[in-house]
């Protein structure tokens, strides 16, 4: 059976036999960097195309359908166009920060990719504080947005960036609390431990209603954290003319765009790991034959399909719900999501102590 774990092991042992350990480590790091950048590029192309097609079908339209088969090369053409465009820096802008901001945004998204297991044993870095690392680094992403908004020297950009700051700082709380409620059940921050604790059932099934509530709060909070509709106040095409990236063009704009989509992927990957068992196949109690069939599907396919399902749900949100006003946004967080998630965490802790989950 095909497995990515075997591939990484064979590369690792081959490098160590051919080179000394330090050189082998350096070569492995280079391979990882190339793989991550390549993955980013492919992910951006696929997700943008998916977004456009999903939005089109939800609005009874056709979407891109001219370039390539069924419009499949549309995003490739768009990327080519963006790469050839001039990356203009406005006159009044803070040149250094203006040019640094897109790289900050993309580097932070790359950093969060480190502890995510794409398949069984296929992970860049399985650190013991994996979940904490993810929630810490992903909240830094607001820096990139603030930097872009400030350096643009444009009132729309600054407004968008400030909104984004308020939004990410607020929603970080309920995202963190719903992550903690899974950590309470697992008793470990290490991502591989969290996944292996879901061997006999995913947390969303094992944790009863509190887990479902935690998942719903998590998906709302990460939708807000990734600045997507209905929480896209930072961009708000119709009122702020794209907010923090109004002044960006060409490849610098493309980097922001890419960072947004990679953040969506990462948020959904975290959701998958915490609530849907990461790369664990679907097992149902004592249906041995069914479980056996499910085991034959490679773990990477399980992971990717779960993540894309969650991404689809987020796109579904985006193309259904109207944008919130900024006071409604903060009301939703501080008056509804935070109290509910605190109460839910209490319930979850009680469940974990009493052992009411299976």
């Amino acid at each position: 059976m095909f497995s990515l774990e075997g591939l990484t092991h064979s590369i690792h042992s081959w490098l160590n036999s051919a080179l000394n350990p330090t050189a082998a480590l350096v070569v492995e790091m280079v391979i990882v960097a190339i793989a991550v950048i390549g993955f980013f590029a492919v992910l951006g192309l696929v997700l943008v195309l998916m977004e456009r097609k999903v939005s089109a079908y939800m609005q009874i339209r056709l979407g891109p359908n001219r370039v390539g088969y069924g419009g499949s090369l549309q995003t490739v053409a768009d990327t080519l166009k963006l790469a050839m465009k001039e990356g203009l820096t406005p006159d009044g802008a803070d040149k250094f920060l203006f040019n640094l901001a897109p790289y900050t945004a993309i580097i932070i998204s790359m950093l969060v990719l480190a502890p995510i297991p794409f398949a069984k044993g296929f992970q860049i870095w399985d650190m013991n504080i994996g979940v904490l690392y993810v929630s810490a680094v992903s909240s830094v992403s607001v820096i990139g947005v603030l930097m872009a908004g400030w350096a643009s020297n444009n009132k729309y950009s600054l407004l968008g960036a400030m909104r984004s700051g308020a939004q990410i700082v607020s929603y970080e709380l309920s995202a963190g609390l719903s992550i903690i409620s899974v950590v309470v059940l697992t008793g470990s921050l290490r991502i591989s431990d969290i996944i292996s604790s879901q061997q006999n059932g995913w947390w969303i099934f094992k944790g009863h209603i509190p887990a479902v509530i935690a998942f719903v709060i998590f998906i709302i909070a990460v939708t807000a954290e990734t600045n997507r509709a209905p929480f896209d106040l930072a961009e708000a095409e119709s009122e702020l003319t794209a907010g923090f990236h109004t002044e960006y063009s060409g490849m610098k704009f493309a980097l922001f765009f890419l960072a947004e989509y990679v953040n969506i992927f990462i948020a959904c990957a975290i959701g998958t790991i915490l609530f849907f068992g990461g790369w664990m196949p679907l097992h149902i109690g004592s249906w041995d034959a069914f479980n056996h069939v499910m085991d034959y599907i490679p773990s990477s396919i399980w992971f990717i399909s779960k993540v894309f399902f969650l991404i689809f749900v987020m796109m579904w949100f985006r193309w259904t719900f109207p944008r919130l006003r900024v006071d409604q946004l903060l009301n939703l967080e501080w008056k509804y999501l935070l109290p509910i998630s605190l109460f839910n965490l209490l319930l979850m802790t009680l469940m974990a102590i009493m052992g009411w989950y299976f």
Partner: protein
């Protein structure tokens, strides 16, 4: 806020959000509902809405007769001077003079397709056509004469 109101708020909000998602989910799975028409490709079978307003035309029947009495109601109704009506006097068989249409001039380049002239017409002599490919190389071709040469007013239209 009472706890009951708080919970009912959450319930109502979730319900209405799910209702919206059910609608978009329905559209996502039912591709037959798609209303996009791939225009230059389907030129022959393009379906325009019944009330689409392309340009003003004056229908003539088989014996080259129209229903315009030359009353100039459309000319008065037009907000931007698109219509100009030139009238003449016909002599009826019993020797009376009667006002009739000589030329109905329609400036397509000025028209905003507001439909006011069609609503103003007392005899339904003009209507909106479905044609929309109006581009020409010379502006003067957009000034049209709507009544066909040699046409008369239909018998019995007052």
């Amino acid at each position: 806020m009472l706890l009951k109101d708080y919970i009912s708020d959450i319930y109502q909000a979730t319900r209405s959000l799910l209702k919206g998602m059910r609608r978009t989910g329905y559209y996502f799975t039912h591709h037959k509902e798609i209303i996009t028409q791939q225009y230059p490709d389907n030129k022959s079978e393009a379906k325009l809405p019944e009330r689409f307003r392309g340009e003003v035309v004056m229908p003539h029947d088989t014996s080259n007769e129209h229903a315009c009495t030359g009353c100039t109601a459309c000319e008065l109704a037009c907000p931007n001077g698109t219509i100009k009506i030139i009238t003449k006097f016909d002599v009826t068989p019993d020797g009376k003079k009667k006002k009739a249409l000589d030329t109905f001039i329609y400036h397509l380049e000025l028209c905003t397709m507001c439909n006011l002239c069609i609503e103003a017409c007392p005899t339904d002599a003009i209507k909106m056509a479905q044609s929309f490919e109006h581009s020409v190389y010379d502006r003067s071709q957009l000034t049209k004469k709507l009544n066909a040469p040699g046409s008369k007013i239909r018998e019995g239209v007052e």
